[in-house]
């Protein structure tokens, strides 16, 4: 693993690494985030590689979810919040991008499944109806493609007109993934997507993510270290609003550089 492209005038942090030869999807430099006067993210600089699964771990309240939301600027919906620093998506500053375009390119799946009170079909079709169906496809075809990608098609193909709430929790979450995938995002952000699900549903979603990483970059926040170890290629450890360490998953879990990382992984706190 190499050092990430260095920020100007900064000494490279030995604990923040980047896979050699990989392309950076996101480049974050000097990110700081405030809720009102309170600083909740500080001094975050690293890069997220494309077409891989990046896991963000850390104890509750360490800022990993807040960080995730800065990536699609959903953090702006909180009043009196402020972001400093820069986030580049494929080299473009996301602050200067059109918000709607950004959010189409960077999709999100939330902790608790939040399907719309509509039919299964309409849930997946929602993003397509708003943003337009890709060329050469009908709406129904696009919906089917997404549901297949989310490994849900076989289970719902005969009940597309039923309410989304008729599905189980795990199915609802896969529906939300299908909904997010329908607009062909380049990045998929997942905020503890399995914390409300049982182990079997969790396993299904983890398998699903492994198939998806070839199509899009995945960033997953999780408080479950075993999950991070299972699915991710690179992992970042957050603590008290800082990114303490970022490295290939097996390296971070086996031979962490920082003591805080080691303490967390061995269960000494958190």
């Amino acid at each position: 693993m190499a050092y990430p492209p260095p920020a100007e005038g900064k000494k490279p942090d030995a604990a923040i690494r980047f896979p050699a030869g990989a392309v950076a999807k996101f480049q974050i430099s000097d990110l700081e985030f405030y809720y009102g006067p309170k600083k909740v993210l500080m001094d975050i600089s690293f890069s997220i590689p494309e077409k891989t699964i990046t896991a963000l771990i850390g104890p509750s309240g360490c800022g990993k979810s807040t960080f995730l939301r800065t990536l699609n600027r959903l953090s702006e919906t909180v009043h009196h919040s402020r972001m400093e620093g820069k986030i580049l998506l494929d080299g473009t500053d996301i602050e200067s991008m059109d918000l709607v375009t950004l959010r189409r390119q960077v999709g999100m799946v939330f902790q608790k499944p939040n399907p719309f009170p509509k039919t299964i079909f309409d849930n997946v079709a929602y993003g397509l109806r708003v943003n337009g169906v890709p060329r050469g496809m009908t709406l129904a075809e696009a919906v089917e493609k997404s549901l297949r990608r989310a490994a849900l098609w076989d289970e719902v193909k005969d009940s597309l007109r039923k309410s989304a709430y008729a599905l189980s929790g795990g199915q609802q979450q896969r529906l939300c993934i299908a909904r997010a995938l329908a607009v062909d995002p380049e990045v998929l952000l997942l905020d503890e997507p399995c914390s409300a699900l049982d182990p079997i549903a969790t396993a299904k979603i983890e398998d699903l993510l492994l198939t998806l990483k070839d199509i899009c970059t995945i960033v997953i926040v999780t408080h479950n270290m075993q999950q991070a170890a299972r699915v991710s290629t690179v992992t970042g450890f957050f603590l008290l609003g800082r990114l303490i360490e970022f490295n290939e998953t097996r390296i971070l879990f086996k031979t962490p550089v920082r003591k805080e990382t080691e303490d967390y992984i061995t269960g000494r706190f958190g």
Binding site: S29, R82, M83, K86, E95
Partner: protein
């Protein structure tokens, strides 16, 4: 771009106004804002119209309007006192009947009755609040008035006729009858709100009293009700505001006589009733505008009362007594 402080608002402002306009958010904000402002505008316009269209009578009578007993369309002399009197008397009477009924019923439904029964009965009582005023008036004329005339009023006169409250000829219509009909109309408000307020009292309050050996009633009356008393008071104010503005039922049973009498059995008049009865008959600007000034008075009284009621209910939810 240099790294710098970029609050979300500034980033949005960096785009042109036209761009924001295109994506529809600003339009939606603007449209809904206009309609919200329209609500405020309507209220302002209402007050303004009432004020403007009562200018003739206000200038003619000034403050004496409120203490004059005259109501003489022929000579153009108008005063509000009999109507204010009638409004106050009927409302107070209705409260005297409705408060014990409503609070008592609320206590039963909140504290004694099993939850399913309580919900069912409350549903029925709340439907009572939906009955139109004119229907109450209908029943008032053909049911309550005869009963009052043949049974209740003579009874009261027989046993309490030595007081000035129950003297005079018995017509059936009058202050007392209006008070009774009003009471039936406002009971649902008192009962429904008081019940909710009582249900919101934390269980550990009750349990603490019972744990000290109090009977159910003692726990309720000495602990729960005092805890909820601000909210109950708020419900009474709300009911009072409703009673003051009540028009049709009162018009049909009060006798429509603009006189002040001590006797509750005598016919009287309220502000709302005189407006209802005489508005379309009012000849001449002074007559009409006097009626409108009465409307303005009624408006101001109800605004003050409703404001007080809100404050009381607000105090209930904030002041540490009851948190909903």
């Amino acid at each position: 771009m240099a790294a710098g402080s970029r609050p979300p608002q500034a980033a949005a402002n960096a785009k042109s106004f036209a761009a924001r306009l295109r994506n529809g958010d600003e339009i939606a904000h603007l449209i809904t804002l206009i309609f919200a402002a329209l609500v405020c505008l309507i209220v302002g316009l209402l007050v303004f119209q009432l004020y403007r269209n009562s200018s003739v009578s206000r200038h003619q009578f000034g403050w004496t309007f409120f203490v004059s007993r005259a109501w003489d369309p022929v000579f153009g002399d108008f005063g509000a006192l009999p109507f204010i009197y009638g409004t106050v008397v009927t409302s107070v009477l209705s409260l005297m009947i409705a408060v014990p009924l409503g609070v008592g019923g609320a206590i039963f439904l909140a504290e004694f009755a099993p939850p399913r029964l309580s919900d069912m009965l409350t549903f029925v009582v709340e439907l009572l609040a939906a009955v139109p005023s004119v229907i109450f008036g209908l029943l008032g004329i053909f049911v309550v008035v005869p009963v009052m005339r043949t049974t209740v009023d003579p009874f009261l006169q027989k046993f309490l006729g030595y007081t000035p409250l129950f003297t005079g000829p018995i017509y059936g219509v009058g202050f007392l009858t209006a008070g009774v009909v009003l009471a039936i109309m406002i009971v649902p408000y008192i009962l429904s709100v008081s019940r909710e307020v009582l249900l919101a009292v934390p269980a550990d309050q009750r349990e603490a009293a019972l744990g000290l050996g109090a009977t159910r009633w003692e726990a309720i009356w000495q602990v729960v009700v005092p805890y909820a008393k601000t909210g109950i008071l708020g419900s009474i104010f709300l009911a009072l505001a409703r009673a003051l503005g009540e028009t049709m039922a009162v018009t049909m049973v009060i006798g429509n006589d603009p006189k002040i009498s001590a006797s509750l059995l005598a016919p009287g008049y309220t502000i709302a009733a005189v407006i209802a009865n005489e508005f379309t008959e009012a000849t001449g600007k002074l007559y009409l505008q006097s009626l409108i000034e009465l409307g303005l008075v009624l408006f101001i009284i109800t605004v003050i009362l409703n404001g007080l009621a809100r404050l009381l209910i607000l105090a209930t939810t904030k002041g540490g007594t009851i948190q909903t």
